[in-house]
Point group: C2
Chain length 460, copies 2
């Protein structure tokens, strides 16, 4: 029997394919890494299907690579050692919504927009919002965050329970429906962010939030990016519970205006949002305006209208695409370091200087309320010199961030792109991570070649 | 050489003792569990001292039990297999405060009040507030929380980095200074809440918060506890970012009035607090008053004066002591389940019914914004019948909470008291926890006999 026939006999007709187009779709993500075709793509419909596939893979030592919607930025879903790509798009049900508990249980293939559409009917929302309409499974696997993390936390902070299929086919639950717990070891956060290397998620139970009574957005323009960063720091240290605080530099605004048809002033800007009640938001916004004036804020514009507000955040979310699709011949490299807030101005300044020094076309933007920012730099993948330059740039930015006590990735994950920095960032702790991987996946069938650098895996 | 001489030769004079009073002090905590004397108590002054003690313990397979201030409620610090009690009280320095980053790095022996005293000078605070003036090390080990978790999260949510001495003497860092990260496996939350069974903390780096511009407290009285609970649920689902929401029943208020000299009305009450700006708090408080009126709220009293407010929260924090010290012959058993909010009224009702059915004297109080509450029940440890009753009560309450999808411990931890419920709560995941314990502490020298039930340890 062929691989397709064997897998079909296990999980049934119509769930297994070697169709070239589908293999190709599962060979890549949004990163610039070389595509690799999987041997086969399966579309499980249930936890049991996933268990059967994993047990089969374990028996035959075949790699298993989970696939959400392919919006990853570090090559997580690329089956670098081929094997089985498990596509969770058929497991896309909202299993149980408990509005009175502020809890929802979903299958991993549910996307964040699909989820919010349902939640909004009940006056609720889910705050984690990466740029793409990613799946909840993928967002859990990479510990995604986005623009609202500064107020509501990142993906791992929302997780109450995961149903996980382990490498040996066992099904475990890592938490409960309780909002907090001191019972046993906290497995939720060990599996969240594990990028498919420790287990496959088949159910995800999340905390929800009530839509605030009042939401107020604003744009503030500054003479330089450094002014933006210092303004952001002053807002944070004043203890204002800002819900969103995004840096968008002049280059990014130009791109977004061209892509989204907006007409924002092409100046270094902060996009801000306040969540609360009207009176509280008004007071916070006024205080923020005063703080920003001290940072030479040139203009402070409210976007009170909900359509205008939606347009503002859509423009922000589309920014990465705006760059990526600005020239079909060019790729983008998207750095993702996160540093302590007080080092942010220095860090951003360094990144911009290095982009210029390499003669590259790049922008700076990001979730500066968390100390997390991205440089989006365009390059021609056919040009070895440019390729070399952007690799140097990435390395310079990561190295500087680590020197400042930061991390190589604030929200995109390790995947293929950040493996080489794991030893430097984690030191001796990397050996502990590798031993946990070895414990839970001794045959290294779960997304092999990701997260842990090869020498670590070999040293197990 | 004696054990004392050997340890002294390793870490120096004045840090090792077998003084009877000191041994006795390290034989117990605030729980009702039988004290056990350690063989020796050491007072390390540095990470290196801790490493040396652990390496010695590893070589001789001697248990090592961390000790903070002895305020635990589940027997965590009791050296049930004797060995070395490591008292962290000499490692009580605030190593580095970075106000502009909202970050502090402390040694594990720093207490929460000591920390806040320093932070307040900079307009900052640390929100995790268990009843006792516990050490940050102990609070990290049990994943403590308290009255402000509903707004600011629990202990594990505050941790940026831990310096940990592993069972083999290795020193690792589990995080960085970045506020968020998707790099590597999230070891912070694996070690937080591990109760000294996976490693010993020697440095703890925490997120801080700016003291809000305005703090407003209020007391609301209701005809029954059930009304209190339903009122709390209505506040949460309305999306109001309440900073504290405590249930204190009539029995507890009577106790607190007697102990603290207060004169609160002896009715089932909610103690509330709002953090924000004046205008926002006024608006939230007014909305809350309207919501509570629908739950037959009998009185709603603001405590705007900061001294009155401090008195309110001190009374709340002292409640557990008020019971414990009300009669020197009696002990208290303090249950700690946490359930989904919608099940809270049913859960609390069940707990109160069972206390009555056993003919015991008990109260109900807790952090109901998180679905976490405690029953404080008095009993005579010399009376086998009462002892049997309180054990049955605890078991009934835990079993019911687990049926509702909850956890056996919301914040006190497993220790000795909740080991027997681990299998039922975690199922197959308990085997994963046990295998991680076995991986990181193969000789089972780190706080043996805690967290993992004996049969699990044996099955490794």
């Amino acid at each position: 029997m062929s691989l397709v026939e064997k897998l079909t006999s296990l999980i049934g007709q119509g769930k297994v394919t070697v169709n070239e187009t589908i293999l190709e779709h599962h060979s890549k993500d949004e990163s610039h890494f070389e595509p690799v075709l999987p041997d086969v793509v399966v579309f499980p419909a249930s936890s049991e299907d996933v268990q059967k596939v994993v047990l089969f893979a374990k028996e035959h030592k075949i790699p298993v690579v989970p696939f959400g919607i392919g919006s990853g930025l570090e090559g997580h879903a690329i089956p670098v050692h081929r094997g089985i790509s498990i596509d969770f798009s058929q497991m896309n049900q909202i299993i149980e919504l408990r509005p009175e508990d502020l809890i929802v249980k979903v299958q991993p293939g549910v996307t964040r927009m699909q989820l919010n559409q349902e939640l909004n009917k009940h006056g609720l929302f889910f705050p984690v919002d990466p740029g793409a309409d990613a799946t909840i499974g993928g967002m859990t696997a990479t510990n995604a965050s986005g623009t609202q993390a500064v107020r509501y936390g990142v993906m791992k902070d929302q997780i109450l329970d995961l149903e996980v299929v382990l490498a040996d086919g066992r099904l475990i639950h890592t938490g409960s429906l309780a909002k907090k717990s001191s019972s046993g070891y906290h497995l939720n956060s060990l599996f969240a962010g594990s990028e498919g290397t420790l287990g496959l998620f088949t159910e995800i139970t999340l905390k929800l939030h009530g839509i605030p009574e009042s939401i107020m957005a604003a744009r503030a323009c500054f003479p330089t990016v450094k002014h933006c960063v210092e303004a952001a720091v002053s807002i944070l240290t004043a203890g204002i519970p800002i819900a969103r605080m995004e840096l968008v530099d002049d280059r990014s605004i130009a791109q977004v205006n061209a892509f989204s048809g907006t007409s924002f002033p092409e100046e270094p800007s902060l996009f801000l949002e306040f969540h609360g009640n009207d009176a509280g938001n008004e007071a916070d916004a006024q205080f923020v305006q005063e703080l920003l004036a001290e940072q030479e804020c040139r203009s402070f514009t409210f976007e009170k209208d909900s359509l205008k507000r939606a347009q503002l955040w859509k423009a922000r979310h589309d920014l990465s695409y705006a760059f990526r699709h600005s020239n079909p011949k060019l790729h983008t490299i998207n750095t993702d370091v996160c540093v302590p807030i007080s080092k942010l101005a220095e860090m951003v300044d360094y990144a911009r200087t290095r982009i210029k020094a390499h003669g590259l076309d790049g922008a700076v933007l990001g979730h500066i309320g968390d100390g997390n920012f991205h440089t989006l730099t365009l390059f021609d993948p056919q040009d070895p010199e440019q390729l070399h330059k952007i690799e140097s740039l990435n390395e310079e930015i990561v190295t500087f961030a680590l020197t400042l006590g930061g991390t190589c990735t604030g929200e995109h994950g390790v995947g293929l792109g950040k493996m080489k920095y794991q030893q430097k960032e984690h030191g001796e702790a990397l050996a502990v991570m590798a031993s946990i991987k070895s414990l839970l996946d001794p045959d290294n069938i779960l997304n092999p070649g990701k997260l842990l650098p090869a020498q670590t895996e070999m040293a197990l």
